[in-house]
Symmetry: C2
């Protein structure tokens, strides 16, 4: 059965193999007689799932030993409060504003600390990346916040800044929700990374936090216990009942990721090569056309989220209806940006992007 | 295929019909070509799921029009902070301590307000329910917190207190995590009810909040936006990306609940009749035996969570091993109480309790 191609920005397409395995294990996981949903989180069965899921993620993302992996709840918007509750100490924090998500993060952080804008691309409608050398970093910031891929605006940071080289002593916090596991991470430049699972890792309702150990233990007194990173870390993500089924689905996705190869490349490196090829194909189609356009500067275009516009916006509904009929789903752009958006996460095969490009060229011809 | 009976306290057994339907729809929900996990939460497909799930819950629990139903994340432990962040205004709150969960709620609330103990059963190890007439309620409390079923200690409130009749003006907040949908709720006595889904509603990672409208809009400034009830209500549980798949599973469970009948009774009333019968059977077995015991006063024994002890505790491991071999899973008691615990939520059929009782009698005979 051919499934349609689903370009949702999140919750997003998952590998069909992963869904098939989940369906086959739904009533009986590995002969336990239970669905994973029915397992006590304290039992040995779920304990084994959690352990292997964490180990696979550590291997896939090459997370160093001095970082803890936390499975939490509340999504990116929750973390917008939880990060400053844990790391700001109520003092100064620097924000690099690159799009809708970093703006939301900044606004929320102001409840808990002095949040400064070190750089912003708001003047050009979030279509370029302010060069790190121009960032006005504070001497005393507790951390620097950067959204390393802006899902709505389609702006991606292709090289994480070296804050030490910029003269700043603060750890870098990245919101990597929408490109986690799509590329390798240079952990030497990161203090904490967080992301909702619903783009590249699994179902909505699971939040991943990867945090350097020295940043644990500094939560404000008003931080809810369930969201205190140290409490979560000390309890191996089991202080609260974790979102067990979402963790299991993420674990199946990690196993799928480990099986992926591209030439000599494996896992996340293989995905990165595929993601470069997919993005090149789609941006190439947009750039060579006079009918489609993308506004983002070429050096920071997202490999994951590709917003684009039709020259004749009165054709938007016709474009979407034709796409749906061709098995190309959820291409409507975010309401704050308009136009179209194709999210091409890990689970989107190159064939899906090829089908989209073919449809776009066909649709353009009919507009002549 | 006969499935074993799963007595987990939560995450807990789910109806096999619900799991079968979820498995069959895993790759393609209603011809959409997508798994529910893959749907944008803003799309019409998931919108329809959320709407019918909320409507079914409102019907099942007979939630009045002036209450809002919120689907959140963070579980019961999260709500222990989120409730006082939203309702306490930093002032006085009364707690009725009836077991481990209300103790945890009290401790967490103290981060945000003056949390007083109006009554406590700690002196007798949480085995009776302090009579409401003895509660020392504050004149100026913003709310009164009561855990209406203590999962760990097996203490259930069978009639919600009428605070007005006790001379108190404050709304009653109930933590109904572990008996929601097992019985009807007298909403005239409740201001807010919250619960994790993972006992009677669906998978872990979904938190249900039912709140009277006049209690919205009073959150402390330090309350994270994603956990501000008014923000969540104004956005119909879509401020944050909700835990979409967990909501879908809860929706399937609600449809299953609506199909249940017991004589002339339907839905939750039918479940309540079954739950009374199941609890009577199990407590009857314990009480008639000299080998098993339950410490909780008869007027407040939980229909959902039945802790019990073997007279000879050196036989605990043998009891559990024999139970597992007989297809009776996850009967080990909570570490803070010890012994055994049989959680017999809605999804546990009477046949499961009959099998447990038969095994208990058989095991007792071998100990003579």
């Amino acid at each position: 059965m051919a499934r349609p191609y689903n370009f949702s920005a999140g919750p997003a397409a998952m590998p069909a193999e992963v869904l098939q395995q989940a369906a086959s294990e739904m009533l009986d996981w590995h002969g336990s007689g239970m669905s994973v949903m029915e397992m006590s989180h304290r039992g040995q069965e779920f304990g084994a799932i959690l352990k292997s899921t964490e180990a696979d993620l550590r291997e896939l993302l090459a997370v160093p030993e001095n970082f803890r992996i936390l499975f939490m709840q509340g999504g990116g918007l929750g973390e917008n409060a939880i990060v400053p509750l844990n790391l700001s100490r109520g003092e100064t924090v620097d924000f690099v504003v690159t799009g809708s998500w970093s703006k939301k993060s900044l606004k929320e952080a102001r409840r808990y600390c002095t949040a400064r804008v070190a750089a912003s691309n708001e003047a050009d409608h979030h279509t370029h990346l302010p060069a790190p050398a121009t960032w006005q970093l504070s001497r005393d910031a507790r951390y620097v916040h950067l959204c390393s891929n802006e899902t709505i605006n389609g702006v991606e940071v292709h090289e994480l800044p070296d804050l030490k080289a910029l003269g700043a002593d603060a750890p870098l916090v990245i919101d990597f929700s929408s490109h986690v596991a799509s590329r390798t991470v240079d952990w030497s430049r990161v203090g904490l990374a967080f992301g909702g699972a619903q783009k590249n890792l699994g179902p909505a309702g699971l939040t991943l936090v990867v945090v350097r150990e020295d940043l644990l233990g500094h939560a404000l007194q008003i931080c809810p216990s369930a969201f205190d990173y140290k409490t979560v870390a000390d309890n191996h993500s089991m202080y609260n009942t974790p979102p067990t089924y979402a963790i299991y689905m993420a674990g199946l996705t990690f196993q799928w990721l480990k099986r992926q190869t591209e030439g000599a490349l494996r896992g996340v490196a293989a995905m990165e090569a595929r993601n470069v090829a997919k993005a090149d194909l789609l941006y190439g189609c947009i750039d060579e056309s006079a009918f489609y356009s993308n506004q983002v500067a070429k050096d920071c275009r997202s490999r994951m989220n590709v917003p684009f516009f039709l020259r004749d916006e009165s054709r938007n509904e016709a474009f979407l209806a034709g796409a749906k009929a061709a098995g190309l789903l959820q291409l409507k752009g975010h309401k704050s940006v308009g136009g179209m958006r194709a999210s091409i996460y890990n689970a989107m095969p190159i064939e899906g992007v090829q089908a989209l490009v073919a449809y776009m060229r066909e649709f353009e011809k009919t507009q002549a």
